[in-house]
Every structure is written in structure tokens, then in C-alpha cells.
């Protein structure tokens, strides 16, 4: 997993709430047995019409958001299915950070495991960023160490993150490797509960 410390990138707004993982990556693309290559299917039915042409009215398709790496959305982002293909698609498409009012629990966990930072912000903050992101080339910088998001126009948002996911993201750790250091404890538990 790639460490994530400071990241600056173009912001893409997605002004909706309750975006479920069925929208993020529709089920017909869950059949692959690989972990990579899901970006092309991200928000498939929102990005493409039935003939496979880009939908012009979908924000992500606008030229000014090409190359964006920070995704901004409303409440309850990533609800529904536990499919990790959703964060895989988000990451493969080029996003490294998501900013939203709230997240579904499983989705948020899945993001951390893949080195994607999910930042929770207030409705007002999210709306402010959405508004600012209407202008071309609007970028934000995220500093995970200091837990702050800022732009070059004076916006500064502090955010909370528990120490464990923060450490995981900063170091890009392989969690299983970490857990295997507790092998003795796991064996003890197994013996005791027999």
C-alpha cells in the first residue's frame, strides 16, 4: 500500500447523498478475479449512456475535472454492498482522497485498507468546496499528518481521524503483517476458548 502524507489535487464535486456502491461499481463488473483495472467501470451508468457515450450532464465527465484526485460528495457515501471493488475503482480511476459529510461503515474501512483517505466534513464545508470546485482547476491540499485540508484562497478545514487508520495510511502498512506480530496472543486466545 502506498503511504499517503500530503496530497494536492484537482477537486471533483459529486453533489448527491446516499451514493451506494452499486452506483460506484455496478454488479456486472464484480465478476473479475483481479484487484486492478476497475477504474474504467467507475460510476459506469452515471458516466455513460446506454450506447456507451459519455453523459455530458454528469460532473465527473466535465473536462475541467479530468485528472481530479479528490472526490467530494454529500451524506452516507458508499452505502449498501460491502464490495471492495468500489474503493478499487475509485483508486484506479485516480482518486486518493474522498471528502463527504458522512460514510457507510464498511466502505470507510475498505478505503483505509487501500490507502484512500476518507475525510468527514460538515454540510457547510462540503457545500463550500462544491461551490469553489465549479471554477476550473480548483485544487485542495490534504495534509494527513496535521489533519487539515486547505486551498490557496484561505480555506482551511481541520478534520478528525482515529490514530490507527491515520498510522496505517501514513505508513502504507500491510495490516496482515502487523497482525501476525500478535500471533502468540491469537494462539493463546484459541487455547483459552477451547
Amino acid at each position: 500500500m502506498e503511504p499517503l502524507r500530503i496530497h494536492t489535487g484537482v477537486v471533483c464535486p459529486l453533489n448527491r447523498s446516499n451514493i451506494d456502491t452499486d452506483q460506484i461499481i455496478p454488479k456486472q463488473f464484480l465478476k473479475r478475479i483481479e484487484r486492478s483495472g476497475f477504474g474504467q467501470f467507475l460510476f459506469y451508468h452515471w458516466r455513460f449512456d446506454d450506447d456507451g457515450n459519455l453523459r455530458k450532464d454528469f460532473s465527473m465527465n466535465h473536462p475541467k475535472y479530468q485528472g481530479a484526485s479528490i472526490l467530494v460528495a454529500g451524506e452516507n457515501f458508499g452505502c449498501g454492498s460491502s464490495r471492495e471493488h468500489a474503493p478499487w475503482a475509485i483508486q484506479d480511476f485516480g482518486f486518493k482522497v474522498v471528502i463527504a459529510q458522512s460514510y457507510a461503515d464498511i466502505f470507510k474501512n475498505n478505503c483505509v485498507k487501500n490507502g484512500i483517505l476518507t475525510i468527514q466534513a460538515s454540510e457547510e464545508q462540503v457545500q463550500t468546496i462544491m461551490r469553489k470546485a465549479e471554477s476550473e482547476g480548483y485544487t485542495l491540499t490534504v495534509n494527513l499528518e496535521d489533519q487539515v485540508v486547505y486551498d490557496n484562497q484561505g480555506l482551511e478545514i481541520k478534520f478528525d481521524i482515529p490514530p490507527y487508520p491515520k498510522e496505517m495510511l501514513l505508513n502504507g502498512w500491510d495490516e496482515i503483517g502487523v497482525t501476525l506480530n500478535y500471533e502468540d496472543k491469537i494462539s493463546q486466545y484459541e487455547l483459552a476458548s477451547k
Partner: protein, 472 residues
């Protein structure tokens, strides 16, 4: 004196392997259920790092999402086939027990776990599937995980988990005639929204819950995730023990009595606190129908589709307008006037024997409306056989339903059971998201009884009146 604890806290504490400041708890997992869609990358991860499955004996695999409900032996889509074959190869390589698609124990993972007695009170149960919450019906702490966590459990039999907040979801009173467990959970999500449970594990309590059968309790717990909660559970009682007795993986004889004695101690203690409490009066719940594109967009059958103009907040207004547009509905339209062209009775929410019995009772002696294509997909091989023994398949077939093989099927349309674009389905499943049952499909979530009545009428009807007409 120790502070009284609720069942969630008790099960949690019994599974903590390691605790340290600044870290989540390292939680032991008693049962890991595996299916073909969310496991291939996890097994591949093990292989790449030269790791083994730590406890194959606590791991059980089935194939359900991609299987055909027409012919168990045929999977036309080569990519689906590859995924199925990969699970089989992985299970062989890593020594995991698998109920293959021809195996008599095969079925939807959340149907067979309880059927086989793998699901037991007080266990921690995970699966790479958000409807793992179903197993909470037995007083297990059961939740869905992603593929990285699947790999983590395979390798270590543990997960790093922050202790959840706890919520008491009290269901007072009794459900009325013709009102089901499905209506109860839909009404709760309709009332409190699709994210009221985020960050929480729920305990369902109250008279209405106690009077439900195990299969009905599974329906309620199944949809905890649609209210945002990763897990929802019900303290075990006589109903639970009665269900478990004699099942394959449940202790037998004296060992069973010992297990029951232990399971009884799990219940929430007098005076225990929760981080939140919500209540619903079960007697006021009517049969529900979802009108929109998430399970919280839900109204009683007697009501009309909402009007966005009545919403004050602009983002709510937009959300309703967008859902109405997707669903092809008019604001203020009575939901009973909505015509359907597909009916799906099945899924991990409502595909168990009692679900099929109740739907068959509604259908008996009727014909499916000629404009409706209706299918019944039992949750498992074993449900299918039991239903056939009772002649339930005949009732459905005579009415014009297709009687299928077990699987996830049209709940998420990963196999070839797909609602076509613009098609409208009365479905007993759990999600009405855009495109869930096929690109452009429109899903209305209902109980099996309501789905059966809609199949006959060709539009939504109040099953309470439908049944009353029968008596006359």
C-alpha cells in the same frame, strides 16, 4: 459492582484477543463465510505472500451470486464461470470446505449458515457480504467485510475493530394481520432513514421481536445494513434454541444443554445502557412498498408517492425528484396504482420456507397477471426440497410462476435473472438502488405476501384486503 452490559458489549468482550491504547481491538472471528464474488483477490493475496488459511475449520464457502437458477450445471457467462471455478480451486488449495453448486447443502450464504447450524448465539461471524447482519437473528455478532478484511481473517482469524456504539431498537406491541417482519424493518428504515444505524450495532428488542419466528427475525436483521448498521442482533430465547436443536453443526445431547445454558447468559442485563434508543409501535405498521431508489424511500400501501415540492431543503427536493424520475413515477400518485411487470420472490431477505409458504397461501387458486413475469427462487437446495415436499412448487407453477433453483438471482442480477431496462419489479429482496436488478430496472421492495398479491393483481394491492376478499 460492574456496570450492567448489553448483549453487544458482552459478545464483543468475549472476543477481544488484544487491547491497547490508540488501537482498535483485535477481535477473534468464530465463523468466516466465503462466497465467490468477494474472495478471489483475498486468496490471491495469501498466495502472493506465501500465507495459509489459519483456521480452515472455522471457514465455510458456498457459491451463490453467479449461479444459474435455471440449470445448476450451466453458467453461460465465461467470466462468471471463471469466478466460480476460482472459488473451487482456492477451496481445494487452502483446504476450505465448500458447498459446490451441485452440493445438497448449497444455497445463499445467509440461508445455509443458519440451516446447517453454523450460525450460533454469541459467535462472531463475518463474510464478504453486507447482509451478513442476517446471522444476528441468533444473537451472533455478524457483519459484512471487504475483501482486504476477508484476506485478513483468512490469514489471522481476527480483525482490528473499534468497539461499536450500541443502539436499542425497540419494537413495541404486535404486528397486525397481514403485516410481516419485512414491513416492520422497512417501516423502521422509512422512519429513521438509511443512515441512522451508521457507527452502531443494533439490538432489536420488544414484544414484536419476541413473537417473531427465527426466519422472520432473519428478515429483520438482514436489513440492518440498509439502516446503516453493520450488524443488528436479537438476544437468543426459546424460539432460537428450538430452531437450533438437531442442526448439523450444533452440539448434541448434553453438550446442547450446556450450550443453551451458556447462550442464555448472553442477554442484555437489567439496567444496561445503550448509546442510542429508537422505538416503533409495531401495531401501527402497515404493509410497506418502497417507491424510490433506496430502502428508506418507503411508504405504506395505503399512501401516495411523495411530492418533492413539499420538501423544504433543496437537496432533499432534488433527491426525491431524481428518484421519481428514475422510477418513472408521478408525485402524489397512490402507490397502489403502480403497475408492475416483474415479480421476484427470493433473496437472503425472504427466500426461506416460511416466506414461500406465506406467498403460496396468497397465490393459491389465482393466476399471475398475464402482463407479469414472476419467479420464485428458493434460498437453498434444502428450502427447495422442503417446499416441493409440501407441494408449494405446484401452487406457484399452477398460478404461472416460474419455480427456480436456489441462488441470489434477481436480487442483484449477477446471473442471467435480470429485469430489463424500464422494467418494474415487485421484489422481496433488500435493495432498490438504481440498476440493482439490471441496468435501468425499477425495484419496489415488499414482503413475500405483497409480492404474491401484486403478481396476481398486476399492480400493488393491500394484501390485507386481498386476503379478505378471498374469505368472502
Amino acid at each position: 459492582m460492574q456496570k450492567p452490559k448489553n448483549i453487544i458489549q458482552k459478545v464483543w468482550e468475549q472476543h477481544v484477543v488484544h487491547q491497547e491504547a490508540g488501537k482498535p481491538d483485535l477481535l477473534y472471528i468464530d465463523l468466516h463465510l466465503v462466497h465467490e464474488v468477494t474472495s478471489p483477490q483475498a486468496f490471491e493475496g495469501l498466495r502472493m505472500n506465501g500465507r495459509k488459511v489459519r483456521r480452515p475449520d472455522l471457514t465455510y464457502a458456498t457459491m451463490d451470486h453467479n449461479v444459474s437458477t435455471r440449470d445448476r450445471n450451466v453458467i453461460k457467462d465465461p467470466i462468471s464461470k471463471k469466478q466460480i471455478d476460482t472459488l473451487k480451486e482456492n477451496c481445494q488449495e487452502f483446504g476450505v470446505e465448500l458447498s459446490d453448486r451441485q452440493h445438497p447443502d448449497n444455497g445463499i450464504v445467509h440461508v445455509i449458515g443458519p440451516e446447517l447450524g453454523l450460525t450460533q448465539p454469541g459467535k462472531t461471524i463475518v463474510c464478504g457480504d453486507s447482509h451478513t447482519s442476517t446471522h444476528g437473528a441468533f444473537g451472533a455478532l455478524a457483519f459484512g467485510i471487504g475483501t482486504s478484511e476477508v484476506e485478513h481473517v483468512l490469514a489471522t482469524q481476527t480483525l482490528w475493530q473499534a468497539p461499536p456504539k450500541t443502539m436499542n431498537v425497540k419494537m413495541n406491541g404486535k404486528l397486525g394481520t397481514g403485516v410481516t417482519a419485512k414491513d416492520l424493518i422497512l417501516a423502521i428504515i422509512g422512519k429513521f432513514g438509511v443512515q441512522f444505524g451508521t457507527g452502531y450495532v443494533m439490538e432489536y428488542t420488544g414484544e414484536a421481536i419476541r413473537s417473531l419466528s427465527m426466519e422472520e427475525r432473519m428478515t429483520v436483521c438482514n436489513m440492518s445494513i440498509e439502516g446503516g448498521a453493520r450488524a443488528g442482533l436479537i438476544a437468543p430465547d426459546e424460539t432460537t434454541f428450538e430452531y437450533l436443536k438437531g442442526r448439523r453443526h450444533v452440539p448434541k445431547g448434553e453438550a446442547f444443554e450446556e450450550a443453551v445454558a451458556k447462550w442464555r447468559t448472553l442477554s442484555t442485563e437489567e439496567g444496561a445502557e445503550y448509546d442510542a434508543v429508537v422505538e416503533i409501535e409495531a401495531s401501527e405498521v402497515e404493509p410497506q412498498v418502497t417507491w424510490g431508489t433506496n430502502p428508506g424511500m418507503c411508504i405504506p400501501i395505503t399512501a401516495s408517492v411523495p411530492n418533492p415540492e413539499e420538501e423544504e431543503k433543496s437537496n432533499k427536493k432534488d433527491e426525491i425528484s431524481r428518484a421519481l424520475q428514475y422510477m418513472g413515477l408521478e408525485a402524489d400518485q397512490p402507490i397502489s396504482s403502480v403497475k408492475i411487470d416483474h415479480v421476484f420472490i427470493g433473496s437472503c431477505t425472504n427466500s426461506r420456507l416460511s416466506d414461500l409458504r406465506k406467498a403460496a397461501d396468497v397465490v393459491r387458486g389465482h393466476k399471475v397477471n398475464p402482463k407479469v413475469k414472476a419467479i420464485v427462487v428458493p434460498g437453498s437446495f434444502s428450502v427447495k426440497l422442503a417446499a416441493e415436499k409440501e407441494g408449494i412448487d405446484q401452487i406457484f407453477k399452477e398460478a404461472g410462476f416460474e419455480w427456480r433453483e436456489a441462488g441470489c438471482s434477481m436480487c442483484l442480477a449477477m446471473n442471467d435473472d435480470i429485469v430489463p431496462p424500464g422494467g418494474r419489479c415487485a421484489s422481496t429482496s433488500n435493495r432498490n438502488f438504481e440498476g440493482r436488478q439490471g441496468n435501468g430496472s425499477r425495484t419496489h421492495l415488499v414482503s413475500p405476501e405483497m409480492a404474491a398479491a401484486a403478481a396476481v393483481a398486476g399492480h400493488f394491492v393491500d394484501v390485507r384486503q386481498f386476503t379478505a376478499q378471498e374469505v368472502l
